[in-house]
Each structure stands twice: as structure tokens, then as C-alpha cells.
Symmetry: C2
Amino acid sequence: MAQPYAGELLGRFIAGSDWAAIPPALRQEGVRSILNHIGCALGVARDPAVLTPLGVMRGLSAAPTATVYGQGLKLDAMGAVFVNAIAGNLLDYDDTHLNTVIHPAAPVAPVCLALAEQRGLSGAQVLHAFLLGGEVECRIGNAVSPGHYARGWHITSTCGAFGAAAAAAKLLGLSATQCWHALGIASSQSAGTVENLPSAAKNVSVGNAARLGLFAALLAEAGYEAAPAAIEGPLGWARAMGDEPDVAAITEGLGTRWEIARTTYKPYPAGIVFHAVIDACLALRAARPVPPEAIAAVEVAGDALLLARGDRAVRNNRDARVSIHHSAALGLVLGRAGVAEFEQAAVDDPVLAAFRAKVTAKLDAGLPRGAARVTVRYADGSAAERVVTDPVGSEANPLSEAALDAKYRDNAALGGFAERAEAQIAAIRGLETAADIRPLMALLA
Amino acid sequence: MAQPYAGELLGRFIAGSDWAAIPPALRQEGVRSILNHIGCALGVARDPAVLTPLGVMRGLSAAPTATVYGQGLKLDAMGAVFVNAIAGNLLDYDDTHLNTVIHPAAPVAPVCLALAEQRGLSGAQVLHAFLLGGEVECRIGNAVSPGHYARGWHITSTCGAFGAAAAAAKLLGLSATQCWHALGIASSQSAGTVENLPSAAKNVSVGNAARLGLFAALLAEAGYEAAPAAIEGPLGWARAMGDEPDVAAITEGLGTRWEIARTTYKPYPAGIVFHAVIDACLALRAARPVPPEAIAAVEVAGDALLLARGDRAVRNNRDARVSIHHSAALGLVLGRAGVAEFEQAAVDDPVLAAFRAKVTAKLDAGLPRGAARVTVRYADGSAAERVVTDPVGSEANPLSEAALDAKYRDNAALGGFAERAEAQIAAIRGLETAADIRPLMALLA
């Protein structure tokens, strides 16, 4: 008998998956991802990069049935998922699947919430569809990594379309064959380049991943079909986009080994390789809290990637999020590194600017990827050193539930939603037993 | 000074182009393309592959402002251009830019007509935007051909998004910089694979080219931006999608040498390499009209491509459109080869089926690509032969105005619009002087 197609196996997995068989720890990971996603989105609710597509989508929306987080309005599902996905991923402060560098939640969670809001579905249905969508997205990403991203494909956008299609297909109750077609249709809508990452065009491909994935499922529901080998065929998605895919990675251990369980959450809205720098500086400050003038010099050592990315002048908030010097200054001077600490006001703060000048970066090829060694020389002649290899938020050192809540509060406050944050956190943490998603969506309006 | 970016030059071209400077022959080519496009779309207005996305889009449409050809209803512009682009390209019977195998009109013409209908623009504005969009589309296609298609990209879909964005940007009156950003945003929405060509997923990427191109222009109008080198940068569209692009081809001779003027129109809804077979058979039949039983055998000689594609059993309408035997039977038995002659009823017709069995295919490596030599042996022992190297509809032997009108009538009748065909043809042929596009759109409803 012929080998089944990748999409065929994924279709059976999506349609056949039973909520009762999803282990408690995995369900909890879904809750954590959605909590983190919504918090990140609320934090940037007033950002022009979110308000601009919101304005465009208001002009294109059918009857409003789906809440746009923090905007006090609804759009049709297509418009809402587009804007919500953009907001969730805007600062790359959302979840990360480290093997692929996919941010899984942004294209998938908005689709789950919008369909559930439209149809009055339960929190468990949302979690289930979210986990399946994230799983499909990360597995297809594994099959094409790392060549896909290196070639110029923004993998959150390109693979996100599959995740959104899978999640929507589950919530629409599609058959295994329809799920297979939905993924195949998604393959012909998958787009987004790395070249466009420093621009608003990145937001477009992330938003499209959500809405075109949803669209793929709606077309499959209506009877539209795709080629059987749309994903892995000789002229299909994976090969058109890059090199020889590892097709087996898509389905090996499907349903037993969960890629979506490997999601990590950032404690700081900075490039992930800077997290060890911040952690080391926070630890040094906690051990010896001194005013900035008591520190004469700081040396940060790391591997080639840290140096290549982070040894730079800091002119704006984009620079700040990938700066060794700014990261060290925040940890040692402020003792915190939230969203506000990477904004222009922090960049322009004279105390931080002066402190950045005391920081030097140094290559230490012996340190592993993602690690940092920070050495502080105090004005009194003494010194202290910290090495961090598994920063908070890495796979080996996951963000605690309390830290996730704190991050949510921080984001909600930034967006102007401080007074609703506790109720929102409670509602998201209660997703598994929520009979109807709409009270949560009302809280997010 | 640094080299300008490809998108920058295209943006200046689009925003700066003046209708008065467009030569009359080029304007007429625009009329021919739009006539051919609308005819093809009307011919399949009752096809489930068109009615299915129409149904999905009805559920997703904002206020209806744009006519869906032949459906007696309007949708919002996004929905209308999606369905109209699908209909125009469904049978690949539309226009072809031979160097790239792009079908230029399908993603571009619907956008021009929908925006003009929404805003009460003139026929000249439609023609102008159409020519600019088609030009941008074909030039970007030239830069990545033939590797792009060979790698698995459906070039009508992928490059169509740029054409639609360019046309929409012109009609929205965007600045040169905004046009540049619209093209850059389009680059992050460009998708569609060859693997999916035998399926409805192909229609999705063609429809998306139109609507996402329009969307790109709307986002650029609202202030969204893209990376300067979104098209040709190291991690940009062209390189992510394939090999080293010929970037100069995008802008060389821009505004003086027109790629869109090289568009060809098919007289028959068959694969383009079969057109010489049909022409030769029609000529043989015209020279000696005999009943099918008077013909004992037919030999069709052609190059390797013709043999590889066309020497096959004919089971359904897809086979018929790429069959040497069916093409020969239509030319010699029926003396016509319109849309109806490639449908299942013709496939199942016993007279045609019996005649197909008399046809043999033979390799003649000496014949050029696209040529055919047909030899008929009559039952009375005599024989006749025709060689066709430039079939009707090739660049060297363009379809006449009368033949284009006849093709339109044929298509309109198939879709059930015979009684409106003459008025529609007259309105389309009068586009250049039409002060308002809406009377034409009313005729197409």
C-alpha cells in the first residue's frame, strides 16, 4: 500500500483527536500560551501598527461577531483574527517554539477565540483546537527548519497558516478528509518574508496566517479541495519554499510526543539571546544593590551570535531590544526589563545612556548559545561575576505561573487595562471549565 | 549614489504614468485583454468551482459594492475580485504572457473594475490601471522565470499579487512611495503552488492574488510600509522563492517597451501546444470536408513536449484539453473546438471516441516547439498534409478582433448570457471613452 500523505495523516489526527485523551499538563500549556498571547496583544493595543490595520479592517468587515482585544469593538471573524494576530506578535514578546523560532500562538489563538465566540463554544474546545493547531504548525515547521527561515521565509507566518487552518477545521467539525484539504488549501496561501521583518509588512503576513488559515477551513467546509501532496509533493509547498523537507518529522510520534508542549515564554521583550544577560545582571543587582555611580565597568561575555546581534549603538526601541548594553543597564540600574524599559523614553534616559557606555561586550566562544557571563567592577575596586546558561523562560527553566501572571499584569497596564487584568487572568486560567467563551471575550473587549 | 530599489522604480512608474502617454495600440491591447477575460469568466459562471467560493464570500462580505460577473449580485470589492479572478482563470482559457506563462488579466482586471465601480471611475482609468498592473506583473515574472515556475510556484498567483497591488495603487491615487510600499506588502502575501494546479486550491491562490493585491494597496494607503528591498533583497521575495533573480529585467525599458503588449489569447480552451494540431485539422477539413468515416487514419507529428503532454487516453475534460487525439478529432470531425467541445459530453460522444482511435502521435524532433504536422489518409487511398508553425493566437499570429468577439459570444452563450453578449462586447470595446464604468458593470451583473 502506498505511503499516506502528510496532510492525510494530519487530517486524521485533527479530526480524530479526543479532548479526553489530552493530558492535563498539555492542557495547562494551552492555558499558559493563550494567557501569554492575550497579554502581549493587550500591551500594544494603542500602537499605531495595530490601529492602522484595525482601521482598514473596519472598512472591510461583514457583520461584527468577533472581539478585537482591547479595542471596545467587534469585527467579522476575518478582520478580528487579522488584527489580534498582529497585536499578539507585534513585539515578538509572545511564545517561542525554539527549534523552529515559530511564535505559535499569534496565528492560531485568535482563530480559536473568534470561532468560539461566534458559535458559543466552550473553553475546552478552544484549548483543544489551539493545541492541535499549534502542534500542526510546529511539526510542519520542524520539517523545513532551519533552511526555511535561513532562505528568507518568516516561519511564524508561513507555518502559522497551517496552524490556523488546523484549529479552524477542528472547531468547524470538519471530517478527516476536509481537514486534509484545509491544510492543502492553506499551503497555497502561505507567505511572508524575513526581508520584511523590520517593517509593517511583517504584520500583514502574521495577520494573514490567521485569517487565511481560517479561510482555508471555510473553503474546505464548502467542498473545495487541494492536491493530495500539497505539503510535501515534488512541486508542493515545502520544496517550492526551500530544500528537501524532513517529511517524516511532520507525523512521527503524532499524538504522543507534543511539540506544542515545548513552547517557551519570554520574561523580557528583548531578543531571546539577551535574556541571560538580563538574568545575570538582575542577580548581581539583587546580591549587591548599589546606585549606578557605584559601578565602574561591566563586561558581558557571550558567544558569536550574542556579539553579532547585540554589540551596537542604541538609537531607538528596535535597537534597545537587541542591545547587550541596554540589557545590562536595565538589569543593573533599574532591576526590571518590561515593555516600558525598551521604549524610546528608556532609550533617551540619561542615566541609562550613561550606564550603557560603561558596558563592553566580549566574545567567549566557550560559552554555549544563549548563555552569558557578566562581570561587574565596582568603583571601590571590588568585582563580582555571574554566569547564566539557562535563563528564565528557556526550555530548561520555564517561566513560572506567577511570573506569567506578572507579565500579563505588566502588559495589561501598559495597554491601559490594569483594572481588568485580574478578572481576565482568572477567566483565562479557568478556560478548561468554561462552558462558553463569551464572558471571557466580553472581558477582553 | 546607491542604486534605486526595484520597488522604488516601479512605484515611480505607477504613480507617474500619464494616460496621454499610453500609445493607442497599447490601449487597444488593454481592451482586448479585458474583453477576453470577461468572456472567459462568463463562460464558467455556473461552474461549481465558481459557485463554491461565491457562497463562502457571501458569508464574509461587507456592504456589496462590486459586481460578480454573471451572478446577478454584488459583494464587497474583496469578495468580488476573488470570485471574478477565479472565474477568469478557471479553464486557463484566458490571456497568456508566453515568456512567463502568466495569465495577466485574471488577478488584475477584477481589481480595476471593482474599484472603478465603487468609485464611479472612467473606462480610461480602468484601462490605464490594468495596463500598469499587467506590466508590473509580467516584468516581475520575467525576473524570476523560468526557475520560479519550475520550482513549484504558480506564477499567475505569485506575480498576480504584484499586478493587482499596482493596479489598485494607481486607482487609489497613491504616491510613488506608497505604491512602492504596496508592492512590498504584496510580496509578503504572494503564494500558490504548481502542485495544487489540478485542484480547487489553485483557484484560491489566483483569487487571493487579486484580493490580497488590493488589500496591499489599501494598507499602503493607510500608512503601512514594507522593507525597501522587499522584492529583490537578500531575504526578500525573489530569492526566498527561488534562485538568483534577474533584477534588471524588472525595470529595463520601463514605460517604453511594454511586456503586457505581448499578451496572447487562446482560440481554443486546450493546452497551448495543441493549438497547432487543431489549426492544421481545421484547415484540412476546410480544404476537403468529408464525413468521419471517409477518413481512415490521422498521424500527428510534433516535438517532444507535444508528445509527452498529449499522447494519452481521454477519460475526462481535463484529459481532453491536453489530448492530441481529441484535438485532431474536433478539428476534423466537428470543425470547431470551443469550450463545449472539451466537456464530458464531447469526451463521451461515440463518434468522437471512435475517431480518436484513428489518430496516432509521432515524434518529429525537427519541428519547432508549438508546431504540428497532420497527415490524413482517406478511405479512398488518397492523403493530405498540413504543417502549422504559428497557430492562431500565437505572438506571430494574433487572434483577430473578429475572432476575439466570436470567442466572447461562444463563452457568453455557454454561461447563458447569449442575449446580452452584443451589448457587453460593445460596452467593453467602448471602454476608452466611457465616462463611468458602472453601465458596463450593470450589463455584466
